[in-house]
Amino acid sequence: MRKWIGATAAMGMLALGGLAGPAAQAAEPSAPKVIRVGATQAMDSMNPFLAVRLVSSSIHRWMYGYLAVPDSKTLQPSPDLAESWTTSPDGLTWTFKIRSAKWSDGQPITAADAAWTFNKMITDDGAKTANGPAVENFASVTANGQDLTVKLKTPQASMLDNPVPIMPKHAWEKVGDIARYEANEYPAVTSGPYIAVEHKKDQYVKLKANPDYWRGAPKIDELQVIFYDNPAAAIVGLKKGDIDLIGRLAPPDFEALKGDENIVQWNTEGRRATYLQVNHGATTSDNKPIGDGHPALKDPKVRQALHYAIDKQKLVDQVQNGLAKPADGSIVPPMYKDFFWQAEGEKKVSFDVAKANKILDDAGYKKGADGIRTMPDGSRKLQFRFSIHTDAPIEEKLAEYLTGWFKELGITLTTKRLDSSKFTEETGTTALFDIAISGWSVNPDPEEVLATHLCSRRPTASGEGGGTESFYCDPQYEALYQQQLKELDRPKRADIIKKMEERLYTDAPVIALYYPNNLEGYRKDRIAKVTSIPEDKGMLYGGSGYWPFYTLEAVSKDGAAAEDDGSNTGVIVGIVAGVLILIGAGYFLTRRRKTVADDRE
């Protein structure tokens, strides 16, 4: 037993004595230029067919080429691995010319790689996990040398926004079961600006610059993505210089960066819209009613009144610390200038409780003795449920404000908290809700988000989900959607899309609240230059495409000096702690020895 205690003491010494050693920082003159990016989410999979988390798709965007990427200035699709493309007059056949470039292992990139990638997804359900819907409309994909031909089932204007990374056929066709493949083989075979060289689960991913990248090698040598579980620790990490850049910050964390002279607070328009989903009489895809939505919400006037009763500016100030834009539009945020529609004049709904009350009075919803309105036929009081997620502080706060405002209308709102799976089920399939919080991060091409309000997205009669965001089914909206699909002329298509947004705004199956800003921060003593996307006040980490990370430039003197300081303090404190422990342990051990001596007597 004594030995055991002695060993324990020794172990403790070892553990604490570890402080005494500085984490060896080889600060040679030609130190590699390394930029470290923090993320508050860990990689779910290195296999792009499976990965669904945002951090994973970002990293994959830095590693692999796509058919097209959003242009860094206009966000319009521009050539990536596809140099050029043509469309047949009926819009059903697309022919891409694949760039003559090389994979990072030296093999040539051909159309066969792209064809293999898409065909794999079409034929193998396991490969559909991440981006399945992107190939749903593909009838066939064939390759001939550098020419890739994609035949579609129906015309699709968003074809160039295809989110599927092109994978190297020669390296991936050997994989047996793609659904179980981890892709933990390094260095990875890539075609983008970076090559993954190491991934430690839940810890970090290391990417080396691809020297043979067809646009030219990136200006830094290494890009590291470091995962944090704890956002507060990530902020501390940025302030200390453990990481150089972090994106997707919550407003309070962003504000915590204020006052640090080495940190640039990067606050720009975001790609997300936050809105309310109103159960306006949910139906299934065969038009049968489903769920238990409040009948009053079927009346567009009631939905309109609710819209008037929301002080969006106040929500922005209170819930988002002012770091958002009140929504005077619909589900497409203003950062997409081409597609953004804003309500003006008559149509614009602005905070006006009196007007909201008048709308309800005129429509026959009378207030009872308790101040709560009832249906015109007196059958039911206007008591709505508001569904939010558990563990979502922003939604919690939002719910409390809405409750306060609706009370002034004579409407009771009670908050219902659901975990994410239950939430999705009740607000997306079974329609067991009145009003629910919702939101969507919109891609440069808004087709995906527009499609979430189509009739066909409603659940089937047997209750299978179709991915609706509103249970909306409106002939006018449907017609506009079909029209924009076929319209390959961008400005004309944008006009149609704006009409769709207007329809959503006035009919109010969803009520947009605000567009949260994209909040990021980076150290200017480490990062000399970074180009946002779009270049004019755009996003860094949160943006689509690889521009910001391809154009990263490190401060040449490297951060070694700052780190040395830290280690020196560490050494001193470590030595002191170590000495104290040694004294303690020594005392302990000498007394023990004495006992042994006593034993021998």
Binding site: P231, A232, I235, V236, A250, P252, D253, E255, A256, Q318, N321, T390, D391, P393, K397, E400, Y401, T403, G404, R417, L418, D419, K422
Partner: protein, 292 residues
């Protein structure tokens, strides 16, 4: 009856005299009585409105001042008032979870001690099984499955914390039933119910009190941990306040009052329950009495 009463009063007098010598215990008792009193009278002064964000009038995350002696949170609500109102949830969950755990523990403990044969064996098997389950992990799983509400949180904590009480009560039951008067009572025709409620229960009750007091302490800590991990009753409690301070970046914005105050409240109240419970144990368990 009067004899019983006199005897009990005397016993209580002896107990109190002995408890009073436990200085830490008395301090603990005073603190927890104060905490309970404050929680009970809170509705006379404030209502749930103090936890409502719309009514938050102060500056966001402003440091302690005359208007808000303990500063404000991310919505400009007074931390002091929220602590006061939140104490009701924290203490309620603490007490009810401990009560639940005590009831389960007592029933099963006495059953295991009283019915020796296979019933006792089975009950002990179950108790031992629950005893080794990692309680926090189990409570998290239960709360995640049942969904967050005051009742499920109480159930999750109560269901995972009773086994130590059961073991304690079983040992005590065995000791009590070894006494000769139990045999006499059995001979006189006293049934299981009579023996367990009239003889065993009164004898184990004092120790039960001590163990329940300690149980409240750990239930309050568990509640705050569950709240921190995202499983909460959706009402303002000290645990949810700490979660709020974490969610709203109080640490990185330097809002120390928002982090320290709820945490210190937990520490103080838990400490008070612990001191009180240990003092009770010292008084009631002669084996430990010499321990001061």
């Amino acid at each position: 009856m009067s004899i019983t009463w006199t005897r009990r009063r005397l016993a209580f007098g002896r107990f109190w005299a002995s408890f009073r010598t436990q200085r830490a215990g008395v301090i603990g008792l005073a603190i927890l009585l104060l905490a309970v009193l404050l929680a009970v009278i809170a509705p006379l002064f404030i209502d749930a409105g103090v936890t409502n964000v719309v009514s938050g009038t102060g500056e966001k995350l402003s440091p302690p001042s005359w208007d808000d002696p303990l500063g404000t949170d991310e919505s400009g609500r007074s931390v002091l008032l929220m602590i006061w109102w939140g104490s009701r949830t924290s203490l309620l969950i603490g007490f009810l979870a401990a009560l639940l755990s005590m009831v389960i523990g007592t029933v099963l403990g006495i059953a295991a001690g009283h019915f020796r044969g296979w019933i006792g064996a089975i009950v002990m098997r179950i108790t031992d099984w629950f005893l080794v389950l990692p309680s926090l992990v189990t409570a998290l799983v239960l709360a995640a499955i049942l969904g967050g509400s005051t009742v499920t949180i109480i159930a999750a904590i109560g269901v995972t914390s009773w086994p130590s009480t059961a073991r304690l009560i079983r040992a005590q039951t065995l000791a009590v039933e070894a006494r000769p008067y139990i045999e006499r009572s059995q001979a006189l025709g006293g049934g299981h119910w009579h023996i367990t409620t009239r003889h065993v229960l009164p004898n184990v009750a004092p120790l039960l009190l001590a163990s329940t007091t300690l149980e409240v302490a750990s239930a309050i800590v568990t509640e705050s941990t569950l709240a921190f991990l995202g499983v909460s009753a959706n009402k303002t409690s000290w645990g949810t306040m700490l979660r709020g301070s974490y969610d709203w970046g109080a640490a990185t914005s330097g809002a120390w009052w928002y982090i320290l105050v709820p945490g210190l409240c937990i520490v103080i109240v838990v400490m008070a329950f612990t001191l009180c419970g240990r003092a009770l144990e010292n008084v009631l368990n002669p084996r430990l009495r010499k321990a001061v």
